[in-house]
């Protein structure tokens, strides 16, 4: 038996096919992951993401601490509630995790980190926080529900007490706020992992089931990890442990844009990244669209004429494009066409710049 979120019984009651995910019993789908995917692109779907870890950091020097800890620059977070996507690196420039950091107020920032790396992330943070007198508080009593899709914000906000609904709808993209009328420890953010607009709501565990039930009654579709993966892949979003890990840097993971090399900011891993840049980054992460029939899958070999081989880091089926897509790590000079070894055959694939889908529409030529 794995770890269970506060919504476990709901998933089972809804007929979910449950699977192990990093030690947690999570819903893979509730009948059809393709239909769940389409529901998010077309209206609204909801995900139990309570397995992810919320970590609150408090203290007058928290911003200074995060400025050194994270590869992206929290100096960009000026308005309260603003959020930032960043990698946390080791000294070799390898990615320990990707996360979102929210600026709550001058002495309080919140991190949301991946389930699979949460324990090692927290240990890493706890080892470095005392030097800045930052207090680290894991918030394991909070559940997380993501509501995503074109109707998501309207449907979720309608279920909140009026002042909270107004505040939630007023949020700009990549910002969050507390929901005081809903109760203590309610926090909502206009963030997500699907490429659609929507919210991620953090709330006390005992409030998760009532809110989930209210969303269900309002017609929001429960969606599992299967749909979560096809949605994020279409959106060109990396998955830790597949598209990057402690042995790959952001520069070879399509995450250059998340590293802020501004003058004078020392951060863990900076020297290693600068050395890698100076020497020339040898590999890069690209998008692939399979032209032949079949499905690209993790770890398949990618053959690049004259340059050697790379590998698929995340492969799957795109329900929106109705063909297979992937992220792959390939030699830096890889041109527009490659071949992929799929079940013993060489299939043709086109190299594209992600995202594959945005605002429900194809972003790559088909």
């Amino acid at each position: 038996m794995g770890l269970r979120t506060p919504l476990y019984a709901r998933h089972v009651a809804l007929g979910a096919r449950m699977v192990d995910f990093g030690g947690w019993d999570m819903p893979l789908h509730y009948g059809s992951q393709l239909e769940e995917h389409h529901a998010v692109r077309r209206s609204a779907g909801m995900f139990d993401v309570s397995h992810m870890r919320v970590v609150d950091l408090e203290g007058a020097r928290t911003r200074e601490f995060l400025s050194e800890l994270l590869a992206n620059d929290v100096g960009a977070l000026v308005a309260p509630g603003k959020a930032l996507y960043s990698c946390m690196l080791n000294e070799a420039g390898g990615v320990l995790d990707d996360l979102i950091v929210y600026y709550r107020d001058a002495a309080h920032f919140r991190l949301v980190v991946n389930a699979g790396t949460a324990d090692t992330d927290v240990a890493w943070i706890r080892a470095r926080a005392p030097a800045f007198t930052v207090v680290v508080r894991e918030r394991r009593e909070l559940a997380l529900i993501a509501v995503q899709g074109p109707q998501a914000r309207a449907q979720a906000a309608a279920l909140l007490p009026a002042p909270d609904g107004v505040a939630a709808l007023a949020l700009p993209r990549f910002a969050g706020c507390a929901l005081p009328a809903s109760g203590p420890d309610h926090f909502i953010a206009r963030t997500g992992y699907t490429g659609e607009d929507g919210f991620e709501l953090m709330l006390p565990a005992e409030r998760a089931v009532p809110f989930w039930d209210a969303l269900l009654a309002a017609g929001v579709r429960p969606c599992g990890l299967g749909a979560r993966d096809t949605l994020r892949l279409e959106a060109g979003m990396n998955l830790y442990g597949h598209d990057m890990d402690a042995h790959t840097t952001p520069l070879e993971s399509g995450l250059d844009w998340t590293v802020a090399f501004g003058a004078g900011r020392a951060f863990v891993g900076r020297a290693a990244l600068e050395a890698q840049r100076a020497a020339g980054v040898k590999r890069r992460l690209v998008g692939l669209v399979l032209e032949d029939k079949g499905v690209l899958r993790d770890q398949q070999r990618v053959l690049v004429a004259g340059l050697g081989a790379g590998e698929v880091t995340s492969g799957s089926w795109s329900p929106t494009l109705e063909r297979s897509i992937a992220l792959a790590r390939v030699p830096a000079a890889t041109p527009a066409r490659v071949q992929v070894e799929v079940r013993g055959r060489l299939l043709e694939a086109r190299v594209v710049k992600p995202p594959f889908v945005r605002d429900g529409r194809a972003r790559v030529a088909l």
Binding site: H29, S32, Q33, G226, K293, G294, V295, S316, W317, R343
Partner: protein, 132 residues
């Protein structure tokens, strides 16, 4: 999950079903248990007419978002037809595994080979044993 196992056909331990058709041909598909385990199917490859297949030979591929699976011929024979509709609508296998989701039809080398396959009761018992 209790899966559907109709008693108008035979089965294999690798979750194929086999059914004699009115014209004497044999139709082959995968069971409700198999389609449920695979999840939403997105791509199906069926054998072409004229191909001679041996018992246990991999003749078709069903691919879901999760995984690709070979489908093996339960009996020897000559392929008469692969289900061409599945190229455009692979999901038929999920929604109607015993009907419109048929994979291929063949002329058996020896029609009596069918009798050696599992009947519905034996297949249900096999599923129950595997579930323990």
């Amino acid at each position: 999950m209790s899966s559907n196992v109709p008693d108008d056909r035979r089965y294999t331990p690798s979750h194929e079903w086999v059914q004699r058709q009115a014209d004497g041909s044999i139709a082959v598909g995968i069971t409700d248990h198999a389609q449920h385990a695979l999840g939403d199917l997105v791509f199906v490859e069926v054998p072409t007419a004229g191909r001679r297949v041996a018992v246990g030979e991999a003749c078709a591929v069903v691919e879901s978002v999760k995984a690709a699976s070979d489908v093996y011929s339960p009996i020897a024979g000559d392929v008469l037809e692969g289900n061409a509709e599945l190229a455009a609508t692979p999901e038929r296998i999920n929604t109607d595994p015993y009907g419109a989701g048929w994979l291929w039809k063949l002329k058996p080398t020896n029609a009596a080979d069918l009798e050696a396959l599992l009947d519905a009761r034996a297949y249900i018992a096999l599923l129950a044993a595997a579930a323990d």
